[in-house]
Symmetry: C2
Subunit: 338 residues, 2 copies
Amino acid sequence: MGGDAAPQIVIEGASIARERLPNVKFLIFGDETRIAPLVTKYPLLKESCEIRHTDKIVSAEEKPGQALRRGRQSSMGLAIQSVKDGESCAAVSAGNTGALMAMGKFMLKTMSGIDRPAMTSLLPTSCGESIMLDLGANVECDENNLVQFAIMGAAFARTVLGLSNPSVALLNVGVEELKGNEVIKNADRMLRDANLPMDYVGFTEGHGLANGEVDVVVTDGFTGNVALKTAEGTARMIAGMLQSALSDSLMSKIGYLFAKPALLGLKNHLDPNNHNGAVFMGLNGLVIKSHGGASAAGFASAIGVAVDMAANDLAGKITEDLKYFENHAKEDAEDKDI
Amino acid sequence: MGGDAAPQIVIEGASIARERLPNVKFLIFGDETRIAPLVTKYPLLKESCEIRHTDKIVSAEEKPGQALRRGRQSSMGLAIQSVKDGESCAAVSAGNTGALMAMGKFMLKTMSGIDRPAMTSLLPTSCGESIMLDLGANVECDENNLVQFAIMGAAFARTVLGLSNPSVALLNVGVEELKGNEVIKNADRMLRDANLPMDYVGFTEGHGLANGEVDVVVTDGFTGNVALKTAEGTARMIAGMLQSALSDSLMSKIGYLFAKPALLGLKNHLDPNNHNGAVFMGLNGLVIKSHGGASAAGFASAIGVAVDMAANDLAGKITEDLKYFENHAKEDAEDKDI
């Protein structure tokens, strides 16, 4: 029931996902009187979904605390509960981000070894896609949080991008070891020492995001949120200017007609709908956030991310790496004692 | 002598600036044997400049501390010294940023009431230009720093953009008052209460930068540096993709030929050279940093910023606002005592 055009977009998105992924089944939580007539339009979806009625919803304006107190029986709360009960593998929502995060954290709890979950997503780069986390779940992070984010991001890259040894970097104001604040310098040292199953390359800068210099960019939720929105805003600004430049004169309109197929390819690559689906990594269960303004195709992408992650035992990979890291840290401490 | 193509670009840039600004005179510090032959190519510049020879330079690799110890007689050091001595109104350099900042701070000292200088620049937006600070001088900032940055940014907007009541916002992860860390929430409260001569609007998000939602965007140097480089990187990524899309097929090449004039207008607006010239605000004297990779036209833009600021008594405006803010804070404290 969440997002700018629910439940229409959600149902249409589920239908698109269903066509691509024949083995997926859906539990759809929300107002049955509005959902059922939509579902009947898509016979394939209809035979692989079950609607669970609730008339409670978490509104876009609701504070996380309010949602926690009042939202357990809402469509969002019931969807997360179904993950907790093992009835579904992942919950996908286009609703209130803060509420989804708070309820996910409260109901599913964080994984052992993870202090804070991180919002994680794919972003378009000049050579494909990269992963960035945290995109806004934690405005303040210490070095342990950043190390845990790196471990979770690498697991994400192995699962969703299929990379065996993903490159990982910390987002900083320069690439030299001297740059940045104490937190980031400590995290850098810890990751260098840890010898984790990833290609840790050190620091990357803001332009490294768009360049696709590394597979996983790790940062605190404040910087990550600002960087994500700055990149999206810049892309939108240029697209808008391009559009008005290309409709400015007869000459440029003719030019647009010829160049249209090429420009659509570019637009397609940059369209946030094609990279939709942010994962709250680090919870005991999968919760995926779709952009509130995503199209049906965008919502289908978010479902695709959920399915990829559920099918690949992401949690198992993270737990394994965390154990490795902790044992390594313990050995290091013992070495120092000697 | 600083930047990727010095002294050629610097001299050519000074010549362009001289044509636009007939009343400006130049002191040019550096290797006379290399500079003099270049200057003779530009008769207008030649008659309004004086070359001061030094064979010492601060290299791009030099650490700020090294530059402080060894760079006083370098072209960079002598240029800043000429500002300190009142012989010139502003120093413009395309050299090592960290060294320029450190030497500027050490030699000129910060203004009374300013704890830390901030790197400040104009950025292109969808509707013109906005000002952002700090772009990387201070990786950690407290609320007092942010308030001082707001005052300096507003003075910059009044001087360089000619706005009588510039709108000012703090860069945050959301626009609601609850969002962000303690530092940013405190700065928000202080700016709301202060009733300064600016239109303080509260928080803005990453996409507000490109939208040009406000005239002045205030943030710490870590976030500002990441946001600036993310925006530049995204713009470069899209430009590169656009270029390859438009040379992809015969059709798109024809389209490009027709649309070329319109596309050049867009390229022009986004070209960092047209927004070149970052000011280290808050020093007792003007120091302006040009991009190391700026073109001659870009270096001329940086000189233009220096001239605008020197002609408009920027320092006086900042001092006035700081006094106003301090008196106001004192009154508030007295009110609370009663």
